[in-house]
Amino acid sequence: MTTTPTRRVRLVAAATFIALVAACGGVQDASDSQDLTSDLADAEIVAPVEGMECDPGTEPTGEPIVVGGSLSLTGPLAPTALVHDEIGKIVVEWVNECGGIDGRPLERKVLDDQSSPAQAASNYERLLAEGVDLVMGPYGGASTLAGAGPVSRAGYAYPTATNGAPGQLIGENHFPAHQFGAGVTDPTKMFDAYAQTLLGALNSSDTPPETIFFANAKFPTTLSYGAAAEAALEEDGKNIVGSVEYDLGTTDFSSIATRIASEDPDLVYLGAIGADVTNIYLAFDAIGYEPRAVYAAAPSPASIANLGDQVEGILLTSIYENHAPLGDTDIARYLAVTFSEAAEADGLFPLVETQAAGGFAAWQILLTAVNEVGVDNAAIIEWLNANEVSTVVGDISFDGFNNYGEDFNRVTQVQDGKRVLVWPEDVAGAPIDLAP
């Protein structure tokens, strides 16, 4: 093949351009910073709930105990629902490795509701028609409410993990792991205890924020969180310098970031879910603004981890982090190790935090009752309504509105790159650290 001088010049120019472009792309190896599980200690298998026997190596026999559930394995809720699916798989394997329940193997039957509440209701109807022994609640407030109808009518116990609509009555068969309200009887006050916890956390700092800007996603849970927090902080004398709501799925936050930067508040309250926190920080970057302090309600843990050093000091809503005192039990240690291995293999955030802990606690509620009274839904409902259950997120009793008894909303802070509970004091791993 022959090449003309013009063609050679073009080839050299093209090669130079490609080389320049390739060389300009600044990439660094971030493998180490992505390894979040390196300091997890090995753990021995123990029974997943208090009072249950664990006999590793004993093969369970007999009729399996089938637990049916609907989860959003596809659709917009899938990223979080898959955490609950992972927890379900771990629990089943864990119980069976311990020899089962009364020697019977545990089995799980999960149907995909495609992030649709109507499909969730239909799934529970099908599972009940197929004669599952027990049920586990789905993920997401709307699906939880949709599933409650058929499950309650059938007289089954309905444990739930992180129901974001606690004010919507389900009934005496509802056993929520993520506890709201601190015993209030008025459903409109369900988020007040959460707001007081946040206020307590902020005021426990030597330099509590005085000016606050609210940006909330238009999503029922974040709006409820935000409204309660705004009222409580304002009542405490804080100055709310701005409050905006944005549409779910927003990816361009540049104008909201500009509004926040214009006010330059002491604290930015983000009622953010999913990837919102990452996108808001990218918008801050784009305009060269560094917020003084940020609090995020309900963000995806991966969105926080992805931001690395940039979110050092960020405050988050949480019910659990993997450290003492909550994480300092044999059950919590084994959960942390097994979950991290499974989650990493499936591309999920590998640390046990709100969703995984809430999911596991829901299973602990169910298994504790089964261990006490057997596979009898009426007896399970009666027992749970009369007794307290020890779970990884704390001791739970079901004696308030909608069977909520406590308030497990806590405040986490990223300190030295790790998630640490900073409030309330009885579960805190470190004090809050807000820069003046």
């Binding site: 490609i18 472009v21 390739a22 060389a23 300009c24 792309g25 600044g26 990439v27 660094q28 190896d29 971030a30 910073s33 992505q34 596809t74 659709g75 917009p76 899938a78 990223p79 898959l82 238009k218 905006v244 709501e245 944005y246 549409d247 799925g249 927003t250 990816t251 361009d252 540049s254 104008s255 909201i256 500009t258 509004r259 930067a261 214009s262 999913g274 990837a275 990452t278 996108n279 990218l282 918008a283 970057d285 784009a286 305009i287 060269g288 995806s300 991966a302 969105s303 992805n306 931001l307 690395g308 499936d346 591309g347 999920l348 955030f349």
Partner: protein
Amino acid sequence: MTVSTLALTQTLLNGVFVGCLFGVIALGLSLKWGHLGVADFSHLSLTLIGGYLTYTLVTELLWSPFLTLAVTVPVFFVVGVALQWFLHVIKAEAFTSLLITFALFIVAESVVSMIWSPDLLSLRPWLTDDLTQSMKVGSISVAPIDVVALVVAFLLVGSAAAMLRYTRWGRGVQAMRQDPGVAETFGVRLLPISLVVSGLVGASAAAAGMVVALKMPLSPGLPLNWIGIVVVASLLGGLGRPVGALVAAVALLMIQNAWSLWFPPQWSPAVTFGLLFLFLALSPVVQLVRDRLSSGAAREALV
């Protein structure tokens, strides 16, 4: 609320940059819809997959994001060709094509979840400060990633517009759009030309995907967030018109951003669709006025 000139300028500029990204995505949709008659919603999924492939090549092989184009562009060209070939083989009409590409759009979300992760993936920790730290131009901040979006948009849209306007091949594409039968009579080879158009559109998804991976965290459901603005930009810009798609996307994002600066941000998507509604509602009126004017001019010419 009072807004400083600086804040407004910064917001409008950010609208330009984000608009460039959406303009590049809209470019592909507009070209296929306008010239091939295929409203290819799977183009958005292909863009997302381009982002995920970029992520994988950067994080697994430590390649520069720009170098990944050497792999993704040819691969996506072939994918674009294959999709158009498939539609040709099954003799898909416009409506069938729409259903097929929409089905691919839905299926892609599950496939991406299965191959990569349903959770968020972000390139940000893997990028050096050269790409992530904003530069100050006077009092205005400019992120290097946004400059990349701008350059990619100008390169792709500029070359697409130039090819359509100044090359023999581009004139063939335009002739095929106006009247395929007549174009074929005059020697335009319809199948090869439509395969190449589809391939180039696929290749543009690779470049857009690279910008997406740099600009935002990846999640399988991301195309659902883009579809509104991309479709509206394609329609407002005029189907098959590369510059129109870019200008419309930039204008829409600037309007949305300016709106969000003064008014509740949750209404900004309504502004986008409101503009589309106005465009569609006023189009017949504009056409009527045009027809009246031209018929009046014709009568005057006869007199």
